[in-house]
Amino acid sequence: MSLIEVKNLYKIFGNKPKKVVLLLEKGLSKDEILNKTGNTVGISNASFEVDQGEFFVVMGLSGSGKSTLIRCLNRLVEPTTGEIIIDGDDILKADKDKLKDIRRKKISMVFQHFGLFPHRTVIANVEYGLEIQGVEPQKRTEKAKEAIKLVGLEGYEDSMPNELSGGMQQRVGLARALANDPDILLMDEAFSALDPLIRKEMQDELLELQSKMKKTIIFITHDLDEALKLGDRIAVMKDGKVVQIGSAEDILTNPANDYVKEFVQDVDRSRVVTAEAIMRKPDALISSKDGPRVAARKMKENEFSSIYVTDKNRKLQGIVRIEDASKAIERGEKSLENIIIKDVPKTSPEQQIIDLLPTAKTSDYPIAVIDEQNTLLGIIVRASIILGIIGEEV
C-alpha cells in the first residue's frame, strides 16, 4: 500500500482560489489565469502516490510549483482543495493539534538554504524537534548525538552554524530532520546551494543512509543528474501540473511531452551530462610555492606523470610534468618557474561532455574544470567521459 496519496490537489495564490479551480478544470492555462484573474496557479490538479520506503524525486523548472507541492504535504502551505492521505488519514482535515503531532512525529523537512537556527549550537539545532515535544534533556541529547553521528558531524556538537561550511550546515539540517525519527523526509532542493563536489558527496551519503534507514523521501531538484541518480521514481512538473511520473529510464526513453523531452535532451547523455557531474577531486595538487622536489615526490607517490599547480586560493596556475621536474632537480632549481606549463586543457563546469571529447583526445593531461574566477573545481580524466556517456557511476 502507498504511504502517501495525493488526489486532485490544487493550490491557488490569490483572492479567488475557488473560481480559479473551476477555470483550471475548464482547461485554462496558468498564464491565461494570471492575466484574467491576477491569481497565480501554484499546483494544478496534482495526483500521485508514494510508497513506503520510496525515494521520490520531483523535478521541474523554476516556478513550476515544486516547493509549493512539498509544502502542502506538511501544510506549511495550505492547499486550496484536494486530498493528501498519509497512512490512511487525510491530513487536510487534521485540526491544529493533530497537525502539530504529524509535524512532530511523522514528517520532517530539510531546506534549500538549510534554515538552521543561527542562535543555537549544532546540537541544540538537532535537538529542537525533541525539545518542543517536551522530551527530557538527557534523552534528547542522546538522540541528537546519534543523528549527528549518522551524518558524520561528530566533534562539531558545540559549534555555531555560521562556523560551518555549507555542506556541514546541510548535514546539521539533515541530522535535525532525522532526530525525530520521522517516517517521511521532505527535502526541498536540499543540495542545490552546495558546491558541485560537496553536492555529489552529499548525494552519495544520502543514498547510503537511505539504504539503511528506508525512510520515505520526497526530494525536490531542478537538476536532471541529481534526479536520475537519486530517484526510484521521478515526477516532472510544469506550470503546477505533474506532467509525467516514472522511473529514470521511463523519463529518459519515453518522455511524455516536449517539455519533458527538452528536460532530458533525449537519451544522448553526452549532451545532458555536464563536466561538473563527472569531474572528481584531484588526488594530489601542489602549490605554486612548492619546488620541483615536492612536485616529483607527490607525482611518484600517486603514480602520476603530471600534476596540477594551484595558488593558495585554489586558482589554477598550470601543470608540471614528471620529466621536467626531474630535470629541474638536476639543474638544482628551487622553483617551478621554468617548468610550469601554463597552457593546459580547461573547461567550465557547465560544459556538456560531448564538447570535451576533442580536447580529451588530443591532450596528454587530465582536463581542469575551473569556474569564472579560475578556481580549480576538479579534474576529468578520459575514462570518466566515457563512463559519463554510457551512464556509469564515475
Partner: protein
C-alpha cells in the same frame, strides 16, 4: 474655506477623558509614582562610591574596560560638581519610564509583526507620536496628572515609545523565512515559535530599539523639568532662566555623561547578543 477647530475638538476630547477616566489616571499615577520613588530610594540608600563602582562593573561586564573607566570617572565628575542627587533623580525617572515603555512597546511590536492589519493601524499613530514636538506632550500630561514627576514620566513614555515598537516589529519580520518555516515544520506552537525562534534571533535589533528608547527618554526627562519633574533638567532650566552659565553648563555636562554611559551599556547588551 472650512473653519475646522481641530485643536479645540482635541481639547474637548482630552477634558472628556479627564472627567470620565479619572480612576484610570489615578491608577497610572500610583504605578508611576511607586516605581520612580522605589528606584530613587534604592539608588539613594547605596553609598555613592559603591554605586559608582557597581556601574563601572556593569559597564565592564557588558562592554569594555575603557567604557568602565569612562563610567567611573564620569560619575565621579558628576558627584564632584555636586549634582549627584539630581542625577539619581533623573536616572530613576528615565529607568522607570523606559521600563514601562518597554513592557508596553515590545508586546505592541510583537503583535504588529504578527498582524498586518494591526501594523497598518499602528504605523500612522507611531509617526504621529514621533514627529509631534516633544513639548506638546507636556500639556495633556499636566492636565491628567498636574505637576511633578508623574506627568514627566507620562510624557516621556509617550515620546520614547515608537523606536522600540518599530524595531521589535521589524526585527521579528526580518527573521529569515526559511528559519521560520523550519520552526513550523517541526511542529512548534506559536508560543514556542516566538520564544525559541523569533525573539532570540530578533534580539540584537530589539536591543537597538531599547537603546534608542532610553536615549529618547533621557532627552525628554530633561525637557519635562518644565513641568516640575526636577532632576538634572531643573538645573539646566535654572541655568537658562537665571543666566547662570556655569550652572547650565554643569547640568548639561552631567546629562551628556549620563547619556553616554546609558548608551554604551545598552549597546554593549546588544553586542553581547550578536556575538553569541
Amino acid at each position: 474655506m472650512f473653519d475646522l477647530n481641530i485643536g479645540s475638538y482635541f481639547e474637548i476630547f482630552v477634558l472628556w477623558l479627564k472627567d470620565n477616566f479619572d480612576f484610570l489616571f489615578d491608577f497610572i499615577k500610583n504605578v508611576l509614582e511607586g516605581s520612580i520613588n522605589g528606584i530613587e530610594y534604592l539608588l539613594n540608600v547605596i553609598p555613592v562610591i559603591i554605586l559608582i563602582l557597581l556601574f563601572g562593573l556593569l559597564a565592564w561586564k557588558v562592554s569594555s574596560k575603557g567604557v568602565a573607566i569612562f563610567t567611573i570617572i564620569g560619575l565621579l565628575l558628576i558627584d564632584s560638581m555636586g549634582l549627584w542627587a539630581e542625577t539619581v533623580s533623573t536616572l530613576a525617572l528615565v529607568l522607570s519610564a523606559s521600563f514601562i515603555t518597554l513592557i508596553i512597546g515590545i508586546p505592541l511590536g510583537i503583535i504588529a509583526s504578527k498582524s498586518d492589519g494591526f501594523d497598518r493601524i499602528l504605523r500612522p499613530i507611531l509617526d504621529f507620536m514621533q514627529t509631534m514636538p516633544a513639548f506638546v506632550y507636556l500639556i495633556p500630561a499636566v492636565l491628567f496628572f498636574s505637576l511633578g514627576k508623574v506627568p514627566g514620566a507620562f510624557a516621556t513614555i509617550i515620546f520614547s515609545m515608537p523606536p522600540v515598537v518599530r524595531l521589535t516589529n521589524l526585527a521579528i519580520r526580518q527573521v529569515p523565512k526559511e528559519v521560520v518555516e523550519a520552526g513550523r515544520s517541526f511542529g512548534s506552537t506559536s508560543k514556542q515559535m516566538l520564544f525559541k525562534v523569533q525573539l532570540p534571533i530578533a534580539l540584537p535589533t530589539i536591543l537597538a530599539g531599547v537603546n534608542q528608547t532610553i536615549m529618547l527618554a533621557l532627552s525628554m526627562v530633561v525637557i519635562s523639568a518644565m513641568i516640575g519633574s526636577g532632576g538634572l533638567g531643573k538645573i539646566v532650566l535654572r541655568g537658562i532662566q537665571e543666566y547662570k552659565i556655569d550652572l547650565g553648563f554643569e547640568g548639561g555636562l552631567a546629562v551628556v555623561i549620563l547619556a553616554m554611559i546609558l548608551d554604551r551599556i545598552t549597546q554593549g547588551l546588544g553586542d553581547i547578543n550578536k556575538d553569541k
